[in-house]
Symmetry: C2
Subunit: 85 residues, 2 copies
């Protein structure tokens, strides 16, 4: 297993946040490409966020929420909802 | 007015997030110092986050939530609650 960057070790959040983005994106019926366009981000970056490989800043998290058409509380609530699909 | 860093211009989030941290911190009866200790962050950094002067990453946001004893959805919901105090 490749060694995780310091911010990743033992931190569940990037996975949970990635899952929340994926759930919100599919709920909005968007492809990663469409979300990338709407967020002004790169498609491969969106993919990395969803796989829990990125540690986005607050301003990037806001761009993703705007691209999804949800507020930040709504976006993060996707990570709290029910067992993993 | 000093010029704002690129990520700050026109972005409301850092202010709203800073406000959410302040509201959650006061609701938990913590000083900035106590929150800094519990989060493993610097007191001045916490002050900067609350003033909207910081652009924390997801892993730092999680540390703040852990220090406050709340989940990420709960922390962000403080920013959605009611008119500004």
């Amino acid at each position: 297993m490749t060694s995780l960057p310091a911010w990743r070790r033992g931190i569940e959040t990037p996975n949970r946040f990635g899952e929340a983005v994926r759930k919100a994106r599919t709920a909005a019926g968007l492809t990663q490409e469409e979300l990338a366009d709407r967020s002004g981000l790169d498609r491969s970056y969106i993919g990395g966020v969803e796989r829990g490989e990125r540690n986005p800043t607050l301003s990037v998290i806001e761009k993703v929420a705007e691209g999804l058409g949800v507020t930040l509380p709504e976006l993060f609530s996707y990570s709290a909802k029910g067992p993993r699909a």
